[in-house]
């Protein structure tokens, strides 16, 4: 191996080992919030250092796979979680990155096997497998099925208010402002600012009133869906 590279790896390993030592020094079960908090900060720093080390395996064996990048990200996420959860088991005899990459290799094949299996058994032929969408995909309407019927059904239930609950819950100072009015305005995609102006009630008053009753609203509407 190139001498400089070796030196760079040694410096990296020293930095990572120091973070691991700090994590191990601060027990996760300490009664002191300061010690537990310090452990977490060091753990967060360790994860950052691993991700920016440039020494994470490229998993080049799988470079040709069509979903390579998604496999890579899924496996990396699982790896980082495992590193955090098993950090106390790490044996400092080996370089930190060797340990991390060993876990990473395992998780990569797990993820690949799982997705391949899923592709064979669960996804109907005409439908795409679960895919990682980007922002433009989400904005374009065709990719995600959207069905107006659910919204219409919801509006109907609220309008009907069979038990009169939504009408009976109103702001004490503004009896004309009840949950039914607010819900219908929200479902018509009105913003809080507009709702507040139209009803003549401050945003904070009306939104507090609404959110405190959310669990009740859900229980009530759920009965009719």
């Amino acid at each position: 191996m190139n001498h400089n590279l070796q030196e760079r790896d040694d410096v990296l390993n020293l930095k990572l080992q120091q973070l691991v030592e700090e994590i191990k020094r601060c027990s996760a079960n300490s009664g002191s919030a300061t010690i537990r908090g310090k452990r977490r900060i060091a753990l967060n720093k360790l994860v950052n250092a691993i991700q920016s080390s440039g020494r994470l395996s490229k998993q080049s064996k799988w470079l040709g796979e069509p979903n390579y990048e998604d496999y890579y990200n899924e496996a990396l996420q699982l790896t980082l979680m495992e590193v955090c959860q098993k950090i106390d088991e790490y044996n400092p005899q080996y370089p930190v990155m060797a340990w991390v990459n060993k876990i990473f290799n395992w998780r990569f094949s797990d993820v690949r096997n799982k997705e391949l299996r899923r592709g064979f058994t669960q996804i109907p032929k005409h439908q795409k497998a679960a895919i990682v969408l980007c922002l433009d995909d989400i904005k374009s309407e065709n990719l995600l099925p959207n069905d107006k019927s659910e919204l219409e059904q919801l509006k109907e239930i609220i309008q009907k208010d069979s038990e009169g609950f939504l009408k009976s819950e109103y702001l004490s100072k503004y009896p004309q402002v009840n949950l039914q009015t607010i819900l219908l305005m929200l479902l018509a995609e009105k913003r809080w600012k507009e709702i507040s102006q139209e009803l003549g009630v401050p945003i904070s008053t009306i939104s507090s009133f609404y959110q405190r009753r959310m669990s009740k609203i859900i229980d009530y509407i759920q009965k009719y869906i």
Binding site: N73, L187, I203, S207
Partner: protein, 309 residues
Amino acid sequence: MNCTSDELSFVVPLSFEAHSMAQEFSKGIPSEKVQQVYLNSLAVYAVDNYLRCMGFNPDWENSHSRNNLAIQLMNVADLEVKNFGKLECRPVLVDEEKVEIPAEVSDDRIGYVAVQFDSSLKTAKILGFTRNYAAEIPLNQLQSLEDFLMYLTECEVVQSHQTEAKLVTVNIGEWIDGFVDAAWEKLDRLLTPQQLGVAFKNEISVTRGQKIDLGIQLDKISLALVLKVTPEENSNEVSILTQLHPFKGITLPEGVKLIISDELGEVVLEQESREDDNWIQSAFDVELGEKFRIGVSYKENSVEREFEF
């Protein structure tokens, strides 16, 4: 938060699991709201992942952001953290300079976390947080993740102390026999000599106290809860004098309550501190076999201890 590279952040890679969940929640959502629901879901997913990496115990299952109806009725991205409350996880796109918090999530949150995405949606970067609601917060005014981890850890430790202390019923009959639980200390460790002089002197009674921490950060106060147990002669009763003092301090904040209740939680006696009170107290008798509770509260925070004789 400064935008230097030393600033602590946490990057969660997003792939099949995150996106299939976001797609699941976006089903049946009108197209105008799909982007909101999709990004909210990814933001909560990322914070859930971050908290689990950091050894916390989030409970996404029981959050509104997981409820199909709630996400149609609110712009919500909440994440319940077991025993201490809800965090709101707000998405920010990489070209935006502030995080917006919708009015319908202004209440009942222990904090608001900003989660940044670029247009590929392949990673989520946790940037920082704020404890208090504002309709929008410039990213450079967020508190750091160091503060975030310390804050949540403090919530967790306070919570676990309170749960532990609540579980045990303290047997004050044993105090008289000379066995006092180590959680209850001699008073010279809790009070200054000046406080001791006026508070407790004398006799055959047993007097012990415990430091009580209420609230966290700005609302935090430390108190000394003191119990004097005096056996009554020729009787199956003990008289209890309980006092609440500032921990190694001079005056209590106004509005601290000392609440004595019975086994069923029915309030029997209640005292509240006024301005400049050095202590507040309650005295009562307890029969053999009887249970009682002493509660201490200040603002929204309270703790309770259970006793039996």
